[in-house]
């Protein structure tokens, strides 16, 4: 299995696809960090140093969006691009039947591919966050505290699991669909559905199921519960809720997608004191476990299908 793993990783890093993807993500990240740090400097200069300023690099928006939002929306694309042709390309070029006639177990192939994708994503994320942290340190002149570092590490972990979910999803499609194009399209369709339709449409769905009634608090609570329930179907929401709590310890709610400026972020709707990391983790745990479960289920299904698939006509 290690041999396949090694080859897959080498393939990932050698591919033009990865290079383009990484450059794109890097450009956006650099730009956002630059804008955010300029923003932070101009708005917070003169005041006393607030806590957890360093993490704001990742959570406050520059001109358009914050870095976490960017990853929440476009992270899936990274996973999809790495996985959508994992199995079916080998099937189409005839290398799959060759691989299978070598002394390797069949599951080693899927496992190695998934792990190689995950490893590539991890390397990508770690290098990205390190790079941006370094840049941020220079730009805003604040050194992260130990807890901030710990929070960043947790953030990276969640991000990798999140993108891993999409990787698993893409591999699932690449097992199901013989054609590379169909698999890519299916993954992208699912991504758009989950991040845009559910992301923005859950309010409407909830309003249809339980029409909101301003005078009746019971109905309003019910409506809010349904909204929350639906939004949690979407890994995008799960992820952004989870990361916003981890990266912003003052946050009173897990809801994100509210574009907060740095000053608002400090003074509005927040806890008086920062939540300790362990408490943040506690808040986030259910989200994290749900994403993890989704990833495992997704990969599990593709594993099962691949194991049962007839080799015939490969």
């Amino acid at each position: 299995m290690f041999t396949i793993f090694r080859k897959e990783i080498a393939d990932h890093f050698n591919s033009t696809r990865f290079l383009i993807l990484f450059c794109l993500v890097l450009c956006v990240a650099l730009l956002t960090t630059y804008m955010v740090s300029m923003n932070l400097r101009s708005q917070l200069s003169g005041g006393a140093k607030a806590e957890y300023i360093f993490l704001m690099l990742f959570t406050t928006s520059g001109e358009f969006f914050s870095l976490t939002q960017f990853i929440a929306f476009f992270g899936p694309l990274i996973g999809v691009i790495m996985g959508f042709d994992a199995i079916n390309r080998e099937r189409n070029t005839g290398t799959l039947s060759k691989l299978l006639s070598q002394p390797v177990y069949r599951d080693a192939i899927v496992n190695a591919k998934f792990l190689a994708g995950l490893a590539t994503i991890s390397i990508m994320f770690v290098s990205l966050v390190l790079l941006l942290s370094g840049l941020g340190m220079v730009a805003i002149g604040v050194v992260p505290s130990g807890e901030e570092v710990a929070r960043l590490i947790v953030y990276m972990l969640i991000s990798v699991i999140y993108v891993g979910f999409w990787l698993g999803m893409a591999i699932l499609f690449s097992v199901i669909f013989r054609s590379v194009g169909t698999a890519a399209l299916a993954s992208v369709a699912l991504w758009i559905f989950v991040s845009f339709f559910i992301g923005f449409g859950y309010r409407f769905i909830a309003d249809v199921i339980v029409p909101p009634d301003q005078d009746n608090p019971e109905v309003m609570v019910k409506n809010a519960r349904i909204r929350e329930g639906i939004s949690r179907v979407s890994p995008v929401n799960l992820y952004s809720d989870a990361t916003s709590t981890i990266l912003d310890p003052y946050r009173r709610t897990t809801k994100s997608f509210v574009l907060l400026g740095p000053m608002d972020a400090i003074f509005m709707s927040r806890f008086q004191n920062a939540l300790p990391l362990t408490q943040s983790l506690l808040v986030v745990a259910p989200y994290l476990i749900t994403i993890l479960a989704m990833t495992v289920v997704c990969f599990g299904i593709s594993y099962l299908i691949f194991m049962k698939q007839e080799i015939r006509s490969i």
């Binding site: 041999t3 070029t93 005839g94 290398t95 006639s101 070598q102 002394p103 390797v104 080799i311």
Partner: protein
């Protein structure tokens, strides 16, 4: 002589359709066995069952004395299989492709290099070892596939339509290569083909498969003797073959 492949009443049913029907045959140590039949006769399915890639519906198979369903890795360690339409990683060189296969077979890197060089030399590709496989011609790819099979020092090789899509010269050199491997290295060969004329040149024994059933088995002479008068005294596998299919 011991048998390297033995099947007994091997049957495979795909969704109500019988692909292989109570197939019983054996391939002996060191011989070239021609496995013939029209397209869709069940040749490829049989190969898959021999390698443990597909589970037989009933019956049993033994490859090199192992049960391919129970010990697929033992079988795949010693059997080189060249599937129909072999694929390579086009963006890697021939050497890199073979290196990957060597590693998959847990051949240590130091040994792999000498084995790869020897194998490439045998198939006359030593000069193109560092060329990307994407730039290979069809004939070169087929020969590379043979080299790939040789990397694991197999006791038995299974070739599925190895001459498909080759020009006459390519076919001859391919058949020559198969003969050499069998005679000089003592490798047993199961050669699947529907191209009878070619098979006739190299095979020691043949089995003719139609609609999943083995309709004939033996040396070409034996088959010719089974009540079939060859035209003008010349024994042609083609005649034998046609006779079997005209009877239906």
């Amino acid at each position: 002589m011991t048998a390297v492949i033995e099947t007994a009443e091997l049957t495979k049913v795909y969704g109500g359709q019988t692909a292989v029907d109570h197939l019983t045959f054996e391939v002996r140590q060191g011989e070239i066995f021609g496995f013939l039949g029209p397209n869709g006769a069940g040749k490829t399915t049989t190969i898959l069952m021999l390698l443990g890639l597909t589970e037989p519906t009933s019956g049993s198979a033994r490859t090199l004395g192992f049960d391919p369903m129970r010990q697929p890795l033992k079988v795949k360690e010693q059997v080189g299989c060249m599937p129909e339409n072999v694929g390579f990683y086009d963006d890697l060189t021939a050497h890199e492709n073979l290196m990957y296969v060597a590693r998959l077979n847990s051949v240590p890197d130091s040994q792999a290099k000498t084995r790869i060089d020897a194998a490439l030399k045998k198939v006359k590709l030593a000069g193109e070892a560092n060329k990307r496989v994407g730039a290979y011609s069809r004939g070169m790819r087929q020969r590379l596939a043979i080299a790939e099979v040789l990397i694991k020092n197999p006791k038995l090789i299974i070739l599925d339509e190895p001459t498909l899509g080759l020009d006459p010269e390519g076919i001859n050199s391919m058949l020559e290569l198969i003969k050499v491997l069998s005679r000089e290295e003592g490798i047993s060969v199961l050669l699947c083909s529907h191209l009878l004329h070619q098979t006739q040149q190299v095979c020691d024994r043949v089995g003719i498969l139609n609609e999943g059933k083995l309709v004939a088995k033996g040396t070409i002479k034996e088959l010719a003797g089974e009540g079939i008068r060859a035209k003008e005294g010349k024994l042609s596998l083609e005649d034998i073959y046609m006779r079997y299919f005209q009877e239906e």
